[in-house]
């Protein structure tokens, strides 16, 4: 698989570290923290994921990937 890093260009996934679902955001309330830490959807289809270009520019990237086909739909900086 290859990831189009917005800083480095199209690079092999071996250069990246995978983290997981990029959709949950760190909550402001203590009550929401448990769900943020533990609850994840098992997405079949396009999913926003965090990848870290550890052996490249050291940027965290939000990659939208179709989990059924591994098609990379987009890759962008977190903001």
């Amino acid at each position: 698989m290859r990831i189009p890093c917005p800083f480095c260009g199209n690079r092999d996934t071996q250069e990246f570290v995978y983290r997981g679902d990029a959709s949950p955001t760190r909550p402001d309330t203590d009550e929401a923290m448990h769900d943020y830490v533990y609850l994840r959807d098992n997405v079949a289809g396009p999913m926003r994921e965090h990848w870290y270009h550890a052996q490249g520019c050291r940027n965290w990237i939000v990659v939208t990937r179709d989990t059924r086909t591994h098609e990379i739909i987009s890759a962008e900086f977190p903001r």
Binding site: M1, R2, D12, T13, V17, R19, R26, D30, M33, H34, Y36, V37, Y38, H50, Y52, A54, R58, N59, W60, T69, H70, E71, I72, F77, P78, R79
Partner: protein
Amino acid sequence: MSRLPTGGLIDRTKPLAFSFDGKRYTGFAGDTLASALLANDIRLVARSFKYHRPRGILTAGSEEPNALVTIGRGAHAEPNTRATTLPLFDGLEASSQNRWPSLDHDLLSINGILSPLFVAGFYYKTFMWPAALWEKLYEPLIRRAAGLGALSMEPDPAEYDADHGFCDLLVVGAGPAGLAAALAAGRAGQRVLLVDEDVRPGGRLLAERHEIDGNSALDWVDATIAELASLPNVRILSRTILFGAYDGGTYGAVENGRRLWKIVARRAILATGAIERPLVFAGNDIPGVMTASAVQAYATRWGVAPGKRIAIFTTSDSGLKVAADLAAIGIEPVTVIDARDGMLVTRAIGGKALKAIELSDGRRIAVDTLAMAGGWNPSVGLGCNLGARPNWSEAIGAYLLDSPPGGMIMAGAAAGAFGLGAAIASGIEAAGGGMPVPATSEDPSGSRPLWHVPHSRGKAFVDYQHDVTDKDVALAAREGFTSVEHMKRYTTLGMATDQGKTGQVNGNALLAIATGKTMSEAGTILSRPPYLPVSIGVLAGHHRGEHFKPVRHTSGHAWALENGATFVDTGQWKRAQWFARPGERDWLETVSREVTATRTGVGICDVSTLGKIDVHGPDASTLLDRLYVNIFSTLPVGRARYGLMLREDGFVMDDGTTTRFAEDRFYVTTTTVNAARIMQHIDFARQVLWPELDVQATSVTEQWATYAIAGPRSRALLAKLLPDLDLSNEALPYMGAMEFHWQGVTARIFRLSFSGEMAFELAVPAHHGDRLIRALFEAGRVLGVAPYGTEALGVMRIEKGHPAGNELNGQTTATDLGMGRMLSRKKDFIGRVMAARPALVNPARPTLVGIHPVDPARRLRAGGHLLAKGAAPVAANDQGHVTSVCYSPTLGHWIGLALLANGPARHGERIIVHDPIRDGDTEVEVVNPVFVDPEGVRVRG
């Protein structure tokens, strides 16, 4: 000799000597081992996997299930080499496999008589009881009796390499469709990589007689290759196996068995051709029974008559073409049996060689070769690697890949375009057109599948390599294994190294017949990489032995090496474990001496491997406050503070000291093993969690060489090295730090202590580290300075009760480690909320304590479990475990750190360390984990 007097793409001026099972023979340049064996009338080349039946050469390609041999000897031996694709070379030594004592007299052929034992599912049915004998007796016996070639068990002396290829268009297969596709794309200016498994491009055009544009098809092949070679944007990789298709247009290939290619292609055309099906009738594995396309290839390409009396058994027009080609070069077939006319071969007769065939009308015809033309299976395997499923096409009687993955196009016979003209046209179209389709000679490709010859008595093989017969498939169906996936596993059909290239579709068809399904309903299996066997060596490449992973040396490495260090791997780092001196009996004596030398004088340890991160920016202290449980925004410039980091789930992640060198500049250290992980964590925090913070972070682990100088004489040593620097408690108090210049180089000194003694850490840019370590020992010589390694470091940290890797194990909280008071209540930080969960603050959680044996002569071992005295050793009574132990030379007995339920309340209590597989039970006393200088007087010295 079966070599024809003329013809073939061999160089008769270049004879090559080779041997098979010790006997010497001669072939020609251009031969494969298989064609040279046939030219020398060698037809028995192997014994089958389970039944040890005599086997010959079935095919002329990489799909070969039978003719597997071992090449070379000793460490150089390559088992399971396909004779059909191995180019002959001078001095080649080949030997047969899976026979004992010899190929001709194989005593293990008794397995054939015992064949009821070896039916489908025999692994599951036989030898079920007693189970204990399975691993020791049954499986080794079966493995010895049934098998393929053996490894030499010696290190592989071959050299392997790796390369990368990038292209607009990858064309797999250099047959007519692939050549045409490559030429069309090459002329259009695309970067083309043409990969072909054969030593010579051309595919079936090398083995069949055709005309293109009125001339021999070989002329067209030569002209096409010449033009491709002249195009700078086209590269041809011959004798290269494309073994797998991966996500994102990535492909794996092996060139010449030695070079691993990782290819990234915008688009790929799979012009991988088709594989001819054998026919299923009794005796279809006797040496001399071959696929028709193989007979045609040996005669046409290699100038070898595979036999003197050849019969052809066909279900398709291609079998008639074989008859015509053979006649054209003077080998008139004895008979052509076309199943479409109602005539069948019901049995092949012979033992180690074919003698005759029996026909459905009762006739018996003496022949030595039978060419089977059972129709063609498009090679769609690579297209299925990513999960695309082939569909049955009634029109051509084969599976086709109608919907290959994005960026991949099927062409030629692989797309069902079997006729020559259609194949070339489909190659050009796949490449985007722009090139006229040449005129070709007639090449009819009609076919009617014949899956099974009825009333055929005797073993009829479906999967030759795994000895799976028609009856095995029927048995699987009767016993309920009615899906192709279950049938595959139950019979092992398609699970040999050839992955069912010749047998899978026949097996699917027999299953469909047995279960009353259509081919479409029966379906087929998906091919997974590798498409052809790939040796582990080529995947490993240069990454073997000491090159398996990178090695990191600190800048003090050479000095440590000169001074007798024994090294230990810490991640990729080599760290000095201890420095043995002459006369020391064992490592324990050495380590104890290093500890005592440090605690009573001065010792030096290379601590450069600790992770170091420079955090810089107006919001640096805000970021650190959120990363650590304790507060850093209040840390004065020129001071260091110990910090503890949690994961968001509330468990401890890492620890280390952080020093503030300026209002907006911090120097963070991490444990050696977590350096990369913490860098990633900090980047996540500042880029994803709080991108509004103005702060940068950079790893400087490899930029600084750092040495710990510890012990009561450490200040005296540094005073000699740095006479102009004020190292008094007033100028540099405990947990103080400053920057200065040493011999013109920026240097940093920290008043930090891991040993509990008065200690300093001295850091210089890494390329000055060797100079500094030598200067330190020069300065300390009169003080009796001793180097110490990671073991002594570990002993001193246990004596001081400092948690390290064994305690920071991902399952402990700050409170578990006795650091609950550090959790700030004045700010938010990562892990704050989850660390407060009731179960994580339960005082019954195992918490850090010290232990020492009640009998001071006993040793302790890490890993033992803790029990209250008198409690039965069952899991319900488990109260924790011993995490770290050492012999303390300072105290004169073994000590340990442990995680014990309600630990801090139990100092003084006697408990049991339960260690049933080593030393049994040891009675220990629970104590304060800080064994040495619990008041912390020495560090402030």
